[in-house]
């Protein structure tokens, strides 16, 4: 199981590393969104500072839909899904492997985004521990929900448009929770960020379990 997970995750990451999509397209896109928010809010420093956490996570949500699309596209082209099944890899392992690959890419983007909000929005980080834990825990939840929905829409017509419709409402608790936790980490609003981290962890656990259970059915029947 563990070996399978490593194989799938390494395969996806290797494809990403070689195609350089994350570095050459996704990261610039994320930076672009940050700049666009600056324009939309009229480069108003106080407004940007208060809204930083929310803008950060909205950007992550956009990037997540792109990352999941990519992750799905890898399996749909050349009938790779069938090949994965025929290779006798445990579906749950495929799910966790793909989840890890998406999460690693998202974390990389988040790293750049943190630097972006510090430079562009003048954000000051007060609690690195909370910031990093929020990124890791929220990202696992996003990648879990994203991977299972990605597999779900893989065979659907117009999957590029269906995926965000399905994924974004389900990620609503992550957006709320991660934004609040970030508010605490950046010291912009006095809230208990660690309590929100608990909610994010709950979301992550539920969606990892759900995904691991549903992935086999999705892989074999759709």
């Amino acid at each position: 199981m563990l070996a399978d997970i490593r194989l799938v995750a390494a395969k996806d990451l290797r494809i990403e590393f070689r195609s350089r999509v994350t570095v050459s397209q996704v990261i610039p896109f994320a930076g672009l969104v940050l700049v666009l928010f600056g324009f939309a809010l009229d480069a108003n420093r106080p407004v940007l500072e208060t809204a930083t956490s929310g803008l950060f996570w909205v950007t992550v949500m956009f990037v997540a839909t792109m990352a999941v699309q990519r992750s799905t596209a890898i399996e749909t082209s050349d009938g790779a899904r069938r090949a994965l099944l025929l290779a006798g890899v445990e579906p749950a392992a495929v799910f966790v492997g793909k989840l890890i690959a998406v999460a690693v890419q998202l974390l990389l983007v988040e790293l750049v985004l943190v630097a972006g909000v510090v430079v562009l929005y003048d954000a000051r980080i007060e609690s690195w521990g909370l910031l990093v834990s929020t990124c890791v825990v929220a990202t696992i939840g996003i990648a879990a929900a994203g991977s299972v929905l990605g597999a779900l829409v893989a065979g659907v017509r117009a999957r590029e448009t269906v995926l965000p419709i399905l994924l974004l409402p389900i990620l609503a608790p992550v957006l709320i929770g991660a934004t609040r936790a970030f508010d605490d980490a950046l010291g912009s609003v006095a809230v208990d960020g660690w309590a929100w981290l608990g909610l994010l962890a709950g979301f992550g656990v539920i969606n990892v379990v759900l995904g691991a259970l549903a992935y086999g059915v999705l892989l074999e029947e759709t």
Binding site: L149, P169, I206, L210, T222
Partner: protein, 264 residues
Amino acid sequence: MTQPIAPQAADQGSADAPASTGSRATMGLGLVVLVGVVAVVLLGFFGAPEDDQQRDAVRMIFVHVPSALLTYVAFATTALGSVMWLWKRSVWWDIVAHSAAEIGVMFCGLTLVTGSIWGRPTWNTYWDWGDVRLVTTLILFLIMVGYLSVRSMGDDDATATRASIIGLIAAVNLPIVNRSVEWWFDRTLHQKSSLTDGNLEDLTLFTLVLGIVVWGLFFTWAMIHRFRIGWLERELRSGDLHEAIAARRAEALIDGHFQSGASS
């Protein structure tokens, strides 16, 4: 390629496909609903007294509360139908899940619209982000619209499986959506349950209960019709396939005769 399963084959023990979506019983039920709607409208506008604080706006609860209740009933039915499809591969339950989702989205939309209209005179705003039930209901609405859009992308067994998993994901994530919104502002404008707080006048309460009963009957009536449409659609699809196979076979036979005639 997956071959569509005929409903009878997949779900033995069910009744044969109905020839139309109407029957004497549904017509009777429909008439009862119509009479009930007229009664609720008359009682709601002329019978029930206006509220001390909410004035005439209180009359909105005769539509709003029943719609909200039926939304939950409908989506719970969808979740149950999704489980039964994944577990038993029951076509019957799959059609029930799809039907309930469609009707549930309608009720959910009605709940949001009537709630907003009621909120304007009562809370002085159409929408309040701090209200847990409001925001949770909107997210539920959006998730179920996604469910229906996946349903509209196909009508085979794979689509049923996809939709069932979305139904389950929605059901499982809903409590956490609710919890997150609750913590988010930690306040609510929403009044406590209208039915149990005991402040309602007798006739208002009667009209509200009547509204719930009528809406419940309407839901049943709509479900029966929608289910029958779903069933007929499935029959049509499997019928089409059988006809196509028969036509192809007949073609092959003619070709065969022609070829044997030409060679002799």
